[in-house]
């Protein structure tokens, strides 16, 4: 697949939040403020690219030659936890300013299903290394785009007064549905 198309598809038409529903828990709970949403989104993009690449290497170099594919889930989640921990230490030590802006989200990311989901999709679709890097980075950017947009839209909710029985999660779901319609509208350009 053309690398540019792959990148476009992973950001827009196959957006992991809006078409694959990955990372929904933080998407609903953390999207109240734009700056917080952006911090979470950047952390997700970074961790996603690193973990998917690392998992690709582990999958092709260790698991497949040894016939241990059934341990995939366990190995992937351990890799993710390890990388998140290392990243947290490194950023805290060398980039304290960055740490203040999104470091607090790093521990939450281990259990973000989008991170594990991308590694699983990469195996299911048998991507090569370059494709994996592009796909995971694009998906991270797509998630960032979706959560920032959601943050912006939710900030304006105070003016529109939706039914109180919706509660925050209900109205977030409806907004996400409308956003998903917009993102899917580009499917004719490129899809996965």
């Amino acid at each position: 697949m053309n690398p540019l198309l792959l990148l476009f598809a992973s950001v827009i038409t196959s957006n992991i939040a809006l078409t694959y529903f990955l990372g929904m828990c933080p998407f609903v709970t953390i999207s109240k403020k734009i700056n917080v949403a952006a911090g979470m989104g950047i952390a997700v993009t970074m961790v996603m690219t690193l973990t998917a690449s690392a998992n690709w290497l582990i999958q092709t170099i260790i698991l497949v030659p040894l016939g241990l594919e059934y341990l995939q889930f366990l190995v992937f989640i351990v890799t993710i936890a390890t990388i998140v921990q290392i990243l947290e230490i490194v950023i805290d030590r060398y980039f304290p300013i960055l740490y203040l802006s999104f470091g607090i989200f790093l521990p939450l990311i281990t259990v973000n299903c989008a991170i594990l989901g991308i590694s699983l999709f990469m195996v299911l679709r048998s991507y090569g290394f370059i494709e994996t890097v592009l796909y995971s980075f694009g998906s991270g950017v797509g998630w960032l785009l979706a959560i920032i947009t959601m943050g912006g839209l939710r900030r304006n909710l105070v003016f529109s007064k939706p039914l109180s029985n919706f509660g925050a999660p209900g109205i977030t779901a409806i907004i996400a549905g409308i956003m998903a319609l917009g993102f899917i509208g580009f499917t004719g350009v490129a899809g996965l």
Partner: protein
């Protein structure tokens, strides 16, 4: 809640055996899990799988069974080991136990129901990061006896099943005009294909949250 207020009078009417069952703590914990702590509509946990697998009732049922099974076994294991797991590493312990259980369930599904396993794709594996499991382990199983933890897990599992079944019946009926593959609506009725694609999942979830909240709030007012 309406039924908790007139519980005394209701309980007197049920036969002796049932009376005992409905009074036990396990039953209360179980009931709490199904309705009040309902993972989808009450706690908003595990939304990824809810949205992704509710396009067909069959997918929703297989997924619910898988989640409930993992939930119950996981709670049983963690509550029986609760005095042995050191507090500092308890998260990693949960993660390892859950991953091993999910690998088992995934292998079983691949052998017993290969088609369903294919349709669910990566979402079975994503049970590992489903917040419901971590949530129940951390909030309940780590501090309570095995019996109560299993009752709690069964309740929450049933609440999850109930929510998924409800949403999937709605989506499959309106989107494909069928339930479990059997066509129910006459062919003349147009199908609303919106509910078979991802945006429809969000709309269906939002609508159900609205309806459930309306029922809840009416109960608390009376």
């Amino acid at each position: 809640m309406g039924d908790s207020m007139n519980q005394g009078s209701v309980n007197l009417k049920v036969p002796q055996k049932g009376y005992k069952l409905l009074k036990t703590k396990s039953w209360m914990v179980f009931k709490e899990g199904v309705w009040h702590n309902n993972p989808i509509f009450g706690m908003m946990l595990g939304l990824c799988s809810t949205l992704a697998v509710t396009n067909l009732v069959s997918n929703a049922l297989v997924m619910s069974a898988a989640v409930t099974l993992v939930l119950v076994v996981n709670s049983a294991i963690i509550s029986s080991l609760r005095n042995l797991i050191p507090e500092r590493v308890r998260m990693i312990a949960y993660m390892l136990i859950i991953s091993s259980l999910v690998i088992t369930v995934d292998l079983i599904l691949k052998i017993v129901l290969p088609e369903a396993s294919k349709a669910l794709g990566p979402y079975v594996a994503l049970i590992i990061t489903n917040c419901i499991l971590m949530g129940r382990a951390e909030a309940y199983a780590i501090n309570n006896s095995v019996g109560l933890s299993v009752a709690d897990a069964l309740g929450v599992g049933l609440g999850y099943t109930f929510s998924l079944t409800l949403i999937s019946i709605f989506r499959e009926l309106i989107g494909f005009g069928s339930i479990l593959g059997f066509t129910l609506l006459p062919d003349e009725l147009p199908r609303i294909a919106l509910f078979t694609i991802p945006p429809g999942a969000f709309f269906a979830l939002g609508t159900f949250i609205l309806i459930i909240n309306m029922i809840r709030n009416r109960g608390s007012k009376s």
